[in-house]
Amino acid sequence: MKLGNFFQITEKTAAFLTFGFVLILPVVLSFNPYYLSIFIIALILGAVSLSWNLLAGVCGQVSFGHAAFFGIGAYGSSLLVLKAGWNPFGAMIIAAFFGVMGAIIIGTPAFRLRGPYFALSILGFAEVVKLLTLNLTWLTDGSQGLFNIPALPAIRIGSMTLDFFVSRTTNYYLAAFLMLAIYLVIYFLRHSNTGLAMSAVHGDEETAAGIGVPVFRTKLLTLMVSAFCTALMGAFYAHYVHFLSPDSAFDGSWSVMPIVASLFGGMGTLIGPSIGALLITGLDEFIFKQFFETGHKLFFGILLAVVIVWTPKGLFGKSIRKK
């Protein structure tokens, strides 16, 4: 009685359906600003989950600390704009590279060790970066946080103006575009030679090394790409909400929710984690919150546990075929 027995689609079809759904969702929601804001966060989570799963689902390296990269991207971009007067779009890209630097700093020592050290040391890394952000008050204003982070500047295309300051809709579609771009990067990476190496490292590190795969380099590269994408989404988040504190930017849920979304949507697929993110947001918003106004998080947690135990490959893990 699992979904995989009912329908089978390919990764590509699943991706088309997902992005098709994302495209029309605002129409379905009648452009209601409240719901749009909920799903902007869902798309950010979806994109982070895709990135997390590139590392965990494809390359087999589970991270418990992706909040580190998210927060680095968020603070990095905000500070470049607030303190150095950069254009937010340029700042977002550079902040994503800060995420890559973080990946190198933590990945270089952690990937030299075998076993669960990476998963744990990255958890510690996220904590350290958060503490640094709290304590480097001259730069980050510490626990006070950063206010008035500028929105992304309006883009003019012909007679059309895409405004990111007021319009939820443009922010929604930019988030969707970023998620699509990240998905495409991951898709093509997975289908390259490097993707084959990632898969081999996931399958069996020792054997992979024995047939010439540079295991350390493959893991580090995967982490760098994953961190880049996660930090990019962190930067987008900062310019979207205009306010950051160490607690919000490095919130543990940016580490935990991508794991949950990936488990939900299927770690063995590429698109699954973003479906998971949209689905858990939708379920939480439209079902659990409606019926259990106060305890919805609890019921939600129970549902997740049931899904994970019931179908370890995720709800769609068996429905979405690799090719």
């Binding site: 030679n193 084959l196 898969s199 399958g203 020792e206 090394a209 024995g210 047939i211 010439g212």
Partner: protein
């Protein structure tokens, strides 16, 4: 086959030369001052009782373990403690006693990743695919190319293990009990495959095997180790008459 081991040793510089190689695990001396050579073109058998240190020796040769002492020369470079992927690039590849396919990848992908990363030389994708096809044909896995490795039977997995190492284009192949767990008919099928690797693909082979009948038939030379020490190095026919070998190897068999 049939060539005198000694004459090969004299005529050619060795492919692999191991000098006083040692490795201990804490107090356990798993390998102790082992020295031997493998010349180009040879098939050398490696036998010894359970726990003698055969797999440990392979792990040392292929870079999965670092030696505690001694030297390993492969094609005139010192490779003791070198990383496994580097050693693979130099031209030595091993199979694992416990087969380890990449379960979530297809048979084709399993071999392809070895073909791409096993050698430094860059080839266009079509050439790589062609190579993979040929290896799958020669190892009898062609019809299984699209299957997930996790769905293979044990004999098929063993073939895949060999196919994958072959794709790295080794000059020296280390086979760790590839015949174990196969029924007599499957062994009969596997032996010509191993021979053809040596004859046609010009790959030298060092193979661990418990199946004595099989190894006597294939090997030019036999190494016997017991408690981490090399106790015999010579022709297979001489090994069965060597008292130390009989006591160590066959004696243990009787106890078991």
């Amino acid at each position: 086959m049939g060539q005198d081991a000694e004459s090969l040793d004299i005529n050619q510089s060795p492919l692999l030369e191991v000098r006083e190689l040692s490795r201990n695990f804490g107090g356990l001396q798993a390998i102790f001052e082992i020295s031997f050579k493998v010349s180009p073109g040879q098939i050398v058998g490696l036998i010894g009782p359970n726990g003698a240190g055969k797999t440990t020796l392979f792990a040392l040769l292929s870079g999965f373990l670092s030696p505690s002492g001694g030297e390993i020369q492969f094609l005139n470079s010192s490779i003791g403690g070198m990383r496994p992927d580097r050693i693979c690039h130099l031209g030595m590849a091993r199979t694992f006693q416990v087969v380890r396919p990449f379960p979530e990848m297809t048979v084709f992908e399993n071999v392809k990743v070895a073909a791409i990363f096993g050698k430094h030389s860059k080839r266009p994708p079509s050439v790589v695919d062609q190579e993979v096809q040929e290896i799958l044909e020669s190892t009898g896995l062609f019809s299984k190319a699209g299957r997930l490795a996790s769905s293979l039977s044990l004999p098929e997995r063993k073939r895949l293990e060999v196919a994958r190492t072959l794709a790295t284009k080794p000059k020296l192949l280390l086979l760790d009990e590839v015949l174990a767990g196969l029924n007599p008919r499957e062994v009969e099928e596997a032996i010509p495959l191993i021979r053809s690797l040596n004859n046609q693909m010009k790959i030298s082979i060092l193979m661990i095997e418990h199946n004595l009948r099989a190894i006597m038939g294939i090997c030019d030379r036999l190494l016997v180790i017991n408690f981490g020490q090399l106790i015999f190095d010579g022709l297979p026919t001489e090994a069965v008459e060597n008292p130390e070998v009989i006591q160590a190897y066959l004696g243990e068999k009787e106890d078991a």
